[in-house]
Amino acid sequence: MASNEQIINETKTFINIETNICKSIYVHIPFCTNICSYCDFCKYFYNEKMVDDYLNALEKEINAKYKNEVIETIYVGGGTPTSLSYAQLSRLLDILKKINVDNLEYTVEINVENIDEDKIKLLSSYGVNRISIGVQTFNEKYLKLLNRKHNKEQVITAINMIKKYISNINIDLIYALPGQTLEELNKDIDEFIALDIPHISTYSLIIEEHTILNNNNVENIDEELDYEMYKLICKRLKEYDHYEISNFGKIKSRHNLTYWNNEHYYGFGLGASGYIDNIRYTNTRSLNNYINGKYIIEEEELDFNETIENLFILGFRKTNGINIDDTLNKYHINILDIDIVKELIKEKKLLVENNNLKINKDYIYTSNDILTNFLGGNYERYIQE
């Protein structure tokens, strides 16, 4: 029998070969023309010169890191990518055009207030085939609270225009807004359904530190109501596949599935995160450092145990859970052997269905309680030779 160390080394090599295939790229555009009150992500007010410098730096970073893999999903997020001028947007798309792609899902996040038909045409002509719109709510009262500058009519007009070029559209919807009632949420869902688009991401509002809402001492709504809202959303969106805690789609987001499947991906741009060669890294949030080529601020090489830990934390976000055979092929462990898995199956918190291990849907909205069980586990001992 091989020694433990040998097994681990062999497994590591094995993971390197099998999971190192990077098929996804995230690109962060940290500029906005307006700051939303709930946002704690990396963003700067739009400034023409700054954006030009940034795009140059972004090109450099991509050139330095990208190793010509065949890429299947690109996601350009923000910030607000469409805050860029037409010329800057073209420049960005040109930079990304050098990427080697196949069967590409190409998503760009847009904001209703700075999109027009020309920009959409431009995106479409570069192969962008998925649009994600930060609508958040159709209710004027809450749009104001979130410091969003659009209204319902603008959203509807924009979506109808976009549909002429790109049909795979997602909107983000925020619920559990301070003061929101079930009726108000219900109306938002009505508006969404009427738009007849294939995908929606719904998030309950979290008041993070360093946000305008937090500074204004806005408080979260009651947990019971939040839960009722979640149930209402699930009920109303029956037509859509509820494939991830917060995502409902007739067409799934392949890019986001990369994260949840614990696969490798590049993160380019300010504050972006990536996962390459078993290293999870986060880029700097300092524009200055970034432009000067100091990209990464934090990186952590994952060992086998941490890799499996992430497999669970991420995989259980999917309502279908984690595929047992895939895990066996990729990591050489049968997840059903794991003691804590057995225990949680016995408690009916986890279920096995169609060769998948998943969280019982009664527990999915409280899944952290289940996930914490997987932190710090020793999974090496389950490795099969």
Binding site: Y26, S273, N368
Partner: protein, 599 residues
């Protein structure tokens, strides 16, 4: 040193009346420390003492002073000011012939000062009244003088005015100590009789005892015997503190110093015991002390159950110079293995807990404090019950008696109303009230000790904006209509949360506790009923709703590390809780009965 040139004294003062500063100034004036070495509160060694501005353990220092061409040796034995440490005070007073009664020129006499003063008078000590802080802009020297004359009976010309801050009157004070406090009696040719008034553990030298030589003398190399324990040791080291340790060859009648004899077992040394010479023993032990009986009990449990042996060791070491601390092993279904500990009072309890956590690095869960109940059973036998868990079945109980105290509450007369309201709420019976002067009164109530143990101090402070000072004496046991109240979590009794309450107050208290627990215990995967019951009758109930939402939010740009950190934080939080049955309970919950609003 000639015996007639020795003076042993201590200082009695209320917290904040400047005792430690005065001690510092005396040390400086006698040259024991120079200005350069001066740091505040030289005698308060422990961090807790400096931080809280109180003295807990006693200290003894030797000072030299030349007065009228004679060399004098003064031993200053520092005393704690708080009522909980009356025992420590009595120990230091027994080693002295005199005491300074220090009163703040702006505050006047306080409740605790009086208690200690009466003890000093009981010990036949010569008292020197001192009004300190006379430099304060709001000093009212005449008023405080009158208080000293009227309430204690001093003559006006006995009173010394000084300011420890500016140094005014310090010289006069030292000379008064020499002039007025008698030299120690005793005969250095008699067999050795030395009183152990304190001891502590030193990792290099073993147990160090602090002693006062009453008769005879002791030299390095002498074989000594402890009278109570009959243990024999060779004296390895003798010394004095001035305030740094200084080795000496012998200690003689009237002197105060320390002794090391490679004593390893803490059981061999009892504070209050008499040390004599093995080959020439004294006939009788010194009077020693009456150890104070602990009045407040609580359970102390290590958060990590593996630390139980360390907790035992910590308690043993603390008991070494704190005879009033009592402990015995206790097992709780909810908290595992720990100790039932007895304390002199609440402050004593707090200090011990804090010292265990700080000096021994053991995280503790403390259960709510209880007093000792005297329970008469139907078969007429009497049992003393120091824990609600040990309370016999109701069917077997004939009568329950609880300890009562008599208060001295010193307070400006415009707060009489609020104080009476407070005491009434605490089941107090009014006894009497005296005017100390035209604006301050001393209010006497008889109140069950168990009520003081809850939140009396905090309430007293908030009712009087901090102007009240409070002291109490135990006056005995009285029958009360008491019942045991159990707290159920998820249908199971949590033994560590049981308490004894007066029947008339059971409903409000039960409601408050249940409500408090509902707020303190985080939501869990299932709904948890919290109930207060007496026997089988539920008197209050509140439900902790099941957790509805505990899920990671949007994964911005695939930032997985951040999510993991969030989960790790949640996991850490869980670790600090105790599993009680199937419910995770945070540490604070076990003390929740203390901090409740009775609205």
């Amino acid at each position: 040193m000639k015996q007639e040139n020795i003076r042993n004294f201590s200082i009695i003062a209320h917290i904040d009346h400047g005792k430690s500063t005065l001690a510092d100034r005396i040390l400086e004036e006698t040259g024991a420390v120079t200005e350069r070495e001066r740091k505040d509160q030289l005698l308060d060694n422990m961090d807790i003492e400096r931080e809280r501005g109180i003295t807990i353990k006693l200290n003894a220092v030797q000072l030299n002073y030349n007065y009228k061409n004679e060399d004098y040796v003064l031993h200053l034995i520092d005393t704690p000011g708080h009522v909980d440490f009356t025992y420590e005070v009595s120990r230091s007073l027994a080693a002295c012939e005199g005491a300074l009664l220090v009163v703040d020129a702006a505050q006047g006499i306080e409740a605790q000062t009086l208690a200690n003063l009466y003890q000093a008078l009981d010990n036949n000590l010569k008292i020197i009244p001192v009004i300190n802080k006379i430099d304060l802009p709001n000093a009212d020297i005449e008023k405080v003088k009158n208080e000293l004359i009227n309430t204690v009976g001093f003559d006006e010309d006995e009173i010394i005015l000084c300011s420890a801050k500016t140094g005014v009157g310090i010289k006069e004070l030292i000379e008064a100590i020499i002039e007025r406090i008698p030299a120690p009696k005793g005969n250095e040719n008699e067999p050795l009789q030395a009183l152990i008034f304190d001891s502590y553990f030193d990792s290099y030298r073993g147990i160090v005892t602090l002693l006062r030589i009453v008769n005879g003398k002791v030299k390095v190399g002498d074989k000594i015997k402890m009278l109570a324990t009959n243990c024999v040791y060779d004296v390895v080291e003798l010394g004095i503190n001035n305030p740094e340790e200084k080795k000496v060859k012998e200690l003689t009648t009237g002197e105060v110093g320390y002794l090391c004899a490679s004593i390893k077992s803490i059981n061999d040394v009892k504070v209050g015991d008499t040390i004599t010479l093995a080959n020439r023993p004294c006939k009788e032990p010194l009077a020693g002390y009456k150890p104070m009986k602990p009045m407040v009990f609580c359970g102390l449990f290590p958060v990590e159950s593996s630390k139980f042996p360390e907790l035992r060791e910590a308690l043993e070491k603390l008991k070494l110079n704190d005879a009033s601390l009592e402990f015995e092993p206790e097992t709780s279904q909810a908290l595992g293995f720990g100790f039932r500990c007895g304390f002199l009072g609440l402050l004593h309890m707090e200090i011990i807990e804090e010292r265990i956590e700080r000096e021994f690095n053991i995280d503790l869960i403390a259960t709510s404090p209880s007093v000792v109940y005297e329970v008469e059973l139907t078969d007429k036998s009497i049992v003393m019950v120091d824990s609600p868990v040990k309370m016999p079945d109701r069917q077997r109980i004939q009568d329950i008696k609880e300890p009562y105290i008599r208060t001295n509450i010193f307070v400006p007369s415009n707060y009489i109303g609020p104080i009476m309201e407070l005491c009434q709420n605490k089941r107090g019976n009014y006894v009497s009230m005296e005017y100390i002067d035209t604006t301050r009164v001393n209010i006497h109530y008889e109140i069950p000790l168990s009520e003081i143990v809850y939140d009396f101090f905090d309430k007293l402070k908030s009712y009087t904006k901090g102007y009240a000072s409070f002291d109490y004496e135990l006056i005995g046991y009285k029958s009360s209509n008491l019942v045991k109240m159990d707290i159920l979590l998820n249908g199971e009794i949590v033994d560590a949360l049981s308490l004894i309450v007066h029947k008339d107050f059971a409903y409000t208290r039960g409601k408050a506790i249940v409500e408090n627990l509902r707020k303190l215990i985080p939501r869990q995967q299932f709904e948890i009923p919290v109930q207060a019951v007496i026997g089988t009758k539920a008197i209050a109930r509140s439900d902790i709703k099941a957790v509805r939402k505990n899920v990671l939010a949007k994964c911005y740009g695939g930032d997985v590390s951040r999510k993991r950190k969030l989960l790790e934080k949640q996991k850490e939080g869980k670790k600090r809780m105790k599993m009680v049955g199937s419910v995770e309970v945070p540490q604070e919950a076990f003390l929740s009965v203390l901090s409740m609003d009775e609205e």
